[in-house]
Symmetry: C2
Subunit: 261 residues, 2 copies
């Protein structure tokens, strides 16, 4: 399907945070980045939530950075004792932690202004947010929200956990990414049961091998519906597949709704 010369880039998201694993916080960064990566033609192959424990973070970073084109981490780059991401990233890469001169400049400038508005001053805790692993391959990722930057080290992008900041950092990182053919999706939604249409759907999946057809049941007003989602890099192929899925649903008595890619 792809007409680019090299295979599509792949990605993994590492969510670093006890707050997700304790159930306190609902993660939303995965969904945001998953959607964006699809638009950018970067295949998200995995997302992992790991605890605030150095061994777990180091192991996950080193496993994933070898396996995928890009790794995006969220969380753990703030000023408090439980923010250990940078120390772990440095360890994963076998590097020292340094205070990055440009990051320090950004923070000092921000808090100078901030202080005049009644904010805090640049103390040691805040300067921790200027830390990155040592080495040439570190590029800062701008944070227009609170100035403390994220950074790229080789193929790993280290970003904040607060969703508004994580999203802004992701968008700031987009120009640094190699893109693939964007993946489009469309869907057909109808009042049919998965179990009734399964055999016909299998036949359609075989016919449209270049389209990935996913089947998702739901219950609304005590009635059973199924959404068939078609994903591919070719919109025409999606449209053709969806038209046949809709016809098939009509055969089962449904009046399906088609959402074009």
């Amino acid at each position: 399907m792809s007409e680019t010369s090299s295979p599509a880039p792949t990605a993994c998201i590492l969510v670093i945070g006890d707050e997700i694993l304790s159930g306190r916080t609902q993660d939303t960064n995965i969904k945001y980045m998953a959607t964006r990566l699809g638009q950018l033609g970067i295949k998200l192959r995995e997302a992992r939530v790991v605890p605030d424990q150095p061994e777990a973070i180091v192991a996950a970073v080193n496993f994933c950075r070898v396996l995928y084109t890009y790794v995006f981490t969220t969380g753990g780059i703030g000023p408090t004792h439980d923010d250990i991401t940078t120390a772990c990233i440095a360890k994963a890469f076998g590097r020292k932690v340094i205070r990055h001169p440009d990051a320090e400049k950004k923070l000092r400038a921000f808090y100078k202004d901030s202080f005049s508005r009644g904010g805090g001053d640049v103390n040691e805790a805040r300067l921790k947010m200027a830390e990155t692993p040592d080495g040439d391959s570190v590029t800062l990722i701008e944070n227009l929200v609170t100035s403390a930057p994220g950074y790229r080290i080789e193929n790993v992008f280290v970003m904040a956990g607060v969703p508004s900041i994580a999203q802004a950092m992701f968008e700031a990182a987009v120009p640094l990414l190699r893109k693939g053919d964007p993946v489009f999706s469309g869907s057909v939604d109808g009042e049919v049961r998965e179990g009734d249409i399964a055999a016909d759907l299998t036949a359609l999946q075989e016919k449209y091998a270049g389209v990935s057809l996913g089947s998702y049941p739901s219950v609304r007003d005590n009635r059973l519906y199924t959404s068939i989602v078609a994903r591919a890099t070719d919109k025409t192929l999606i449209a053709l597949a969806l038209a046949e899925v809709a016809d098939m649903m009509r055969k089962f008595g449904a009046d399906p709704t088609v959402t074009a890619p």
Copy 2:
């Protein structure tokens, strides 16, 4: 902190689903199970989202079932072609897929009733939902919602992806789990900046080594707040730590709100 004789059981959640990795669906099963596992004293060490690809699923299952006391999978046990979880679980355990006699009975009974209400009949696709890996160590997990059961195989619990069904299956599995000391949490929320309180918070974390203190910034009405969450198996210790955190926040001019464990 624990007074039980063996170490607390651990767990990993494997979310199997392209719909999460494409950004189409917001996962909520992790948060639900994370909360419940904490209450049951089972330490959730990791959550992974893997795609609907056999190699990825088999590798993740085999990695995690060795590493953790329990693995909970969600998704991919329906009747359609994209539901490949059972085939992958069987492969991971080196077993054949069989049609489980009790599961088949449940499905036939359900669809007999269902058919009289105008539902579908038991076809080959639906009987796929009666499949499990072969062997003695397979126990069905009841599904009161749509009858197609989940199952336990050794330390792996295979459950549906639809949240209402996943939750019901998880609760049906709870009696099968070894419990630990439940983890309680409380919090202090105040209008302080993380960077201002970081040094004092580090000192409190050192003083209360048996309590895990997490710091989570947020922005509300353009004002910066920080929530300090204390987690431990000992409520008294949490209360003591929270009282000191609240005092500390007051030192920084905040009027904090304490949520008791």
